[in-house]
């Protein structure tokens, strides 16, 4: 398929000898305007690739931080249309930062797969991560998305072994997202050596960049993981920062945007030092 912003950005980071910093927030958390402002501020703070969560009522693979972020977004009235419109607005000022929509299949299925991939591409989305679509169901969304020029980024996990790894990689494009722990997002203790081994195994099977996520919280971890990985994914620590910044009524405060960007700045420093 054609080269996407994701391919270009990972290649650029590689040329700079550093891992890409991939940052996640939930669209519409804690409200649409604040979320859009955070989204726009992320590249300047050091985000190389952005994952924007499509809120879903039943986020089975998420730990408490992203569950709460999802609930905040839905309570504030976030919809799929608003999420796509956020991407459109973001693209007016930024035509280079790759943007990936991440979530669960039902809101997309409800929208209609063909219409969704068309509108997502047109809005400026570069890739999709859909947690509950394993390669067994590539015909559902992965292949229609690829035909539309969207990368379909697959998660590989510690349970993805042997022949299954090739099956998982088969229709994956953009990059491979290695889930560093068995567990939900934001959980578990990172074992940098085990992650390095896993990344190296995946790299024996593919030329795609490998990004690592689930449990990266600090600049030190970003540095340690980024030593072997092509990308470092952070999410829970950012949505926790949003939560901590809210006022007594649960609304965004003056500090909400900088609460997120200051963490991204620190993580970007950590990532930059990874391969030095």
């Amino acid at each position: 398929m054609e080269t996407t912003r994701i391919d270009t950005r990972f290649a650029a980071c590689k040329a700079q000898n550093r891992p890409a910093l991939v940052t996640f927030i939930t669209a519409g958390d804690p409200d649409l305007d604040t979320s859009l402002a955070i989204l726009k501020a992320m590249p300047k703070a050091g985000a190389d690739v952005i994952e924007l969560g499509m809120p879903f009522s039943d986020p089975m693979a998420e730990g408490v931080p992203i569950q709460l972020a999802t609930q905040r977004a839905l309570a504030a009235g976030q919809t799929m249309q608003k999420t796509l419109d956020m991407v459109r607005t973001f693209r007016q000022d930024d035509d280079e930062t790759p943007l990936i929509l991440m979530g669960y299949y039902n809101p997309i299925y409800s929208w209609g797969v063909d219409a969704f991939v068309k509108e997502a591409k047109e809005a400026g989305v570069d890739g999709l991560i859909v947690v509950d679509l394993p390669p067994e169901h590539d015909d559902e969304l992965c292949l229609p998305a690829r035909d539309q020029g969207l990368n379909f980024i697959r998660l590989a996990t510690p349970t993805t072994k042997g022949k299954r790894l090739d099956q998982v990689l088969k229709n994956t494009s953009g990059f491979v997202y290695y889930v560093s722990v068995t567990g939900v997002t934001g959980s578990g203790a990172l074992d940098a050596d085990a992650v390095a081994d896993a990344v190296s195994t995946i790299k024996d099977h593919t030329d795609l960049p490998v990004a690592v996520g689930f449990g990266v919280k600090t600049p030190e971890q970003a540095k340690a993981i980024g030593k072997n990985a092509d990308g470092v994914v952070v999410g829970s620590v950012l949505v926790n920062a949003i939560l901590d910044s809210l006022d007594e009524e649960g609304k965004a405060s003056d500090g909400t945007i900088t609460a997120v960007t200051s963490i991204i700045e620190g993580l970007a420093e950590g990532a930059k030092a990874a391969k030095a």
């Binding site: 799929m80 299949y105 409800s110 394993p134």
Partner: protein
């Protein structure tokens, strides 16, 4: 002695209604394996283990022994003479799975799955529960086989089903209240999946209904189909012919598919599933996925779901916590679309009336779940001929519900 293997291995014609699921776990477009990659290898292993167990006579022998001596199967097929007279129409029989050990059909499935967990060398059991019947059945088999047991239960349900929470604790189960979402069954299922994804090496997840990723819908159906197989032979003995109609209630639909499945190819048998209409299908407070939902993907399968226009899952409502789930087993979705089974609904009030009628006419206190099935029987039996036969699955007993019913009838039993 009839073992489950003999009947379940009866060949069915290709493309027949009873032949599903296909190799990918689909009944038509419903079912599948919509789970995260971390779980995918686990459910593939489970599928292999179940396929092997199905072929192993020792597995079926052990299950049959436990059914007879631990559960008390076969459960009676009972002619409800006074109720039949009262309603004045078709002859009404009850399949009395409420007499099973633990008080409902849930034990049929839990025994099958715990034997499978043992075969697979798993050492820890998790389960979700709504009303607590599946949680009690799971804690029971865990006690019987010496497994640690973690039950996830919505915080709201923990409050309103206190007797079952206590039962689970007595049986050695650990009840984890789930506060996410509205704190009901779907939230409990999310949390059980989160546990499973975290404890992949040692943990077996006993799903309580015929839903979830393949192979669960087919496996749970197979374990529950003992209900329908027994009915078939008991009815031949009692009446020398098949019944004219089967009726069962549906939450996730495991008792219903267990009764229906062995009869799907018997065209003369009309089959009716009864969903919970709660406060009415024209309100938002019901859980009639097949009557008022649309197809979507949740908890590992594609099926009819209660959802809004943006694909967000809605909370179900029913007076009966066991029916309070916004989805339905995928095989029911398939049977709905094919037209083989008719799916109707009955509301809270109708279920309460049916509950009381059965207490008075037959001396049986039913659970609120099958009270919904009975509410439909009350509607339809009087219009049928005296020589016609209805079999209704009386899938649970009502001891657990007396507080709820008391509350609705203005009697406070807790003070």
């Amino acid at each position: 002695m009839t073992t489950p293997s003999q009947d379940s291995n009866t060949p069915v014609a290709p493309n027949s209604l009873a032949a599903g699921p296909d190799d990918r776990g689909f009944f038509g477009i419903y079912g599948g394996q919509f789970v995260s990659e971390t779980l995918m290898p686990l459910i593939l292993d489970l599928n292999d283990a179940y396929e092997e167990a199905k072929k192993d006579p020792a597995f079926h022998d052990e299950l049959a022994y436990l059914h007879k001596h631990y559960v008390g199967r076969e459960s009676p097929l009972y002619f409800a003479e006074r109720l039949t007279e009262e309603l004045g129409g078709a002859k009404i029989y009850f399949k009395r799975d409420e007499l099973n050990h633990t008080g409902s059909h849930k034990i049929n499935n839990c025994l099958g799955q715990i034997l499978l967990a043992k075969r697979m060398g798993k050492t820890r059991i998790i389960a979700e529960t709504g009303a607590g019947q599946h949680g009690v059945a799971t804690a029971t088999v865990c006690a019987r086989f010496g497994f640690p047991c973690e039950v996830y239960m919505g915080a709201t349900d923990v409050e309103r089903q206190a007797p079952n929470v206590f039962r689970m604790k007595l049986l050695g189960g650990n009840v984890n209240p789930v506060t996410a979402g509205a704190g009901t069954l779907k939230d409990a299922m999310n949390e059980a999946l989160r546990d499973w994804v975290t404890n992949v090496d040692n943990t077996y997840y006993i799903i309580g209904t015929a839903a979830g990723p393949h192979p669960y819908p087919a496996m749970v159906r197979d374990f529950q189909s003992i209900i329908g197989r027994e009915v078939k032979s008991q009815m031949m003995e009692a009446e020398g012919r098949l019944p004219d109609m089967l009726v069962a209630c549906l939450g996730g639909g495991s008792n219903a598919i267990g009764l229906f499945h062995p009869f799907l190819e018997d065209e003369s048998v009309k089959i009716i599933g009864v969903e919970a209409a709660g406060k009415g299908l024209d309100t938002e407070e019901h859980c009639a996925s097949l009557n008022a939902g649309k197809p979507g993907v949740l908890h590992g399968n594609r099926t009819y779901l209660l959802q809004d226009d943006d694909g967000q899952i809605l909370e179900g409502h029913s007076i009966s916590a066991g029916l309070d789930y916004p989805g339905i087993g995928p095989e029911h979705s398939y049977l709905r679309d094919s037209g083989r089974v008719e799916y109707v609904s009955a509301g809270d009030q109708e279920a309460l009336e049916a509950f009381q009628l059965l207490c008075r006419t037959e001396g049986i206190i039913p659970a609120l779940e099958p009270s919904h099935a009975l509410a439909h029987v009350m509607k339809i039996a009087p219009s049928m001929d005296n020589d016609q036969i209805i079999v209704m699955n009386l899938c649970g007993r009502g001891d657990k519900d007396v507080f709820t019913v008391g509350g609705h009838l203005g009697v406070n039993l807790t003070e």
